[in-house]
């Protein structure tokens, strides 16, 4: 039994089945990426894991305990920052703790941790896209979850910011011994971050492939071993690797 266990019998949207007979386990401290074509149900699977999708026929277990709905041990970072525009950055980050009587030290610490020191009093509209996503990550971390789920968290920021945020994620994951399940479109991102990459098929059913990423950490972006792994992934995704491999990840 894994630390986080997701077992989906079926998930339908209207008449269309999006997920069927899919099991996914994530070991304690592991970083797993979910990749696959658009519309294959990656984000739906993540919402189920977070307890946000109650209509799905699915079971989620955390450390062996069956979950019913959202659980404080599981943090979630959405694709968009989803900050409350009427709350300051600090109040947004502390949103999950009830806002009243929050320890200022913990807040300063997490602001520092995500690189937003001194911005606790700012309003979301004053933040750049990268800063807003840092605040969203801080909110996901603030309740001290054991598991962090991320739904394409870096897809809306520029390439340089994305790399910085990826490194931020790796740092906090190591420091806090987090278990991470990440949905991404970006194969380079999956290879850079993950211990395992799970490929979902467009046809609902069990995962198409489950690949270990045995590259040593810290990893260098774009080294030869990573390129070889990317070729394997692309082949699994049915992409002809003899064409320009750099542009097909999206």
């Amino acid at each position: 039994m894994s630390f986080l266990d997701i077992d989906v019998d079926a998930k339908r949207y209207g008449g269309r089945t999006v997920l069927r007979q899919l099991r996914l386990g994530v070991a304690r401290g592991e970083i797993v990426s979910l990749v696959g074509a658009s519309g294959c149900g990656k984000s739906t699977l993540l919402a189920i894991a977070a307890g946000l999708d109650r209509a799905a026929q699915a079971r989620v277990r955390l450390d062996g305990t069956p979950l019913d709905g959202p659980h404080p041990g599981i943090g979630f970072v959405f694709q968009e920052p989803r900050l409350f525009p009427w709350l300051t950055v600090a109040d947004n980050i502390a949103f999950g703790t009830g806002a009243q009587g929050l320890p200022p030290d913990a807040l300063a610490g997490v602001l520092e941790e995500v690189g937003l020191a001194g911005l606790g009093g700012a309003l979301p509209r004053q933040l750049s896209g990268g800063q807003a996503q840092r605040a969203a990550i801080a909110r996901g971390l603030f309740t001290r979850p054991q598991v962090l789920l991320l739904d394409e968290p870096f897809s809306a920021v520029d390439a340089i910011t994305r790399m910085k945020l990826q490194d931020l994620l790796l740092r906090v994951t190591a420091e806090r011994a987090l278990t991470v399940l990440l949905v991404t479109h970006d194969l380079d991102e999956a290879i850079h971050l993950s211990d395992r990459i799970v490929l979902l098929d467009r046809q609902p059913g069990p995962a198409r492939a489950d690949l270990r990423v045995d590259l040593p950490r810290p990893r260098t972006r774009g080294d030869a071993a990573a390129a070889a792994l990317k070729a394997t992934l692309l082949a699994e995704l049915g992409v002809d690797i003899n064409v320009d491999t750099a542009s097909v990840a999206h």
């Binding site: 946000l52 409350f84 949103f95 309003l123």
Partner: protein, 282 residues
């Protein structure tokens, strides 16, 4: 020009040199001053009859005279009616609107009937109110309340209905119980629409106050209006109109200040600009 590759080749279309720049405060006053000055001049020259169109100076003199002859009482009577009617109507609208927006059963029960009532022109209630309640204070307050009710109701229901599902999902993720979800997520998110509804409701309350007082009253600005008409005193009518404009504008400005304070977090086009926001979405 030659240093910037993207400059358009339009040698004669340089920005016009600013011949004169009107100070920001002057421009809004320009039109009223012209109209008032023109009216004054037209009467003095005999183009307009002073009996029908008293010149602004005479209206001002009438206002000064009224001030010593019970004007404060009329203003107070009207203001109290607007205040009570607005509080009653807007309060009921806030409660019912929130109920309809947050409870599907209540929505099915109440909303169709309220929408049907909304379709009735509010002034159509006047004869019925007079029949039921006579010409006392109560029918006036009810009429003002009806006027204030619907804009606020619409603002509340559309405000709650338009809250971004994604923000609600964040609230659910943190397992907020329903009442906390309302207080911490739905209410702040719906606040802009609710405040717009309140602002529109307040201006309609002033409007319906005049209607109520025109029909039957022995005090108030509406009474001054009808008294001026009956005694052929156009100067009194105009003085009352000026006062209504001033009072309506003052309360609206108070609402704008409230809106700015409560919604300072908004990232809007008008935020930070000097121009007063006048958008009315309800």
């Amino acid at each position: 020009m030659s240093t910037r590759a993207l400059d358009l080749p339009a040698p004669d279309a340089r920005p016009a040199p600013r011949r004169f720049a009107l100070p920001a405060l002057v421009l809004p006053l320009l039109l009223p001053v012209l109209v008032l000055g023109g009216a004054e001049l037209a009467v003095r020259l005999g183009v307009l009859r002073a009996g029908l169109m008293p010149p602004p100076t005479e209206v001002a003199a009438t206002l000064a005279w009224l001030a010593g002859h019970g004007l404060a009482g009329h203003i107070a009577a009207s203001t109290v009616r607007v205040t009570l009617g607005f509080l009653g109507g807007a309060g009921a609208a806030l409660l019912l609107g929130a109920l309809v927006a947050l409870n599907a059963q209540a929505a099915r029960l109440l909303d169709p009937s309220l929408q049907a009532l909304r379709a009735i022109p509010s002034l159509a209630w006047v004869p019925l109110l007079l029949l039921w309640f006579g010409i006392d204070e109560l029918p006036k307050l009810i009429l003002i309340g009806i006027g204030a009710f619907f804009p606020v109701y619409t603002g509340v229901t559309s405000g709650f209905g338009g809250v971004d599902r994604k923000l609600v999902e964040v609230g659910l993720l943190y397992r907020l119980p329903p009442h906390t979800l309302v207080r911490r997520v739905l209410l702040p998110a719906a606040l802009p629409a609710i405040l717009t509804g309140l602002r529109t409701g307040l201006s309609l309350a002033w409007m319906f106050m005049v209607a109520a007082e025109l029909i039957a009253a022995s005090s108030g600005l509406g009474y001054l209006l009808s008294d001026g008409r009956e005694t052929s005193r156009a100067d009194i009518v105009l003085a009352a109109i000026v006062l209504l404009a001033v009072l309506g504008k003052l309360t609206d400005m108070a609402m704008v200040v409230l809106e700015r304070r409560l919604l300072a977090w908004r990232d809007t086009h008008a935020a930070g600009g000097g121009a007063e926001r006048t958008e009315r979405r309800a």
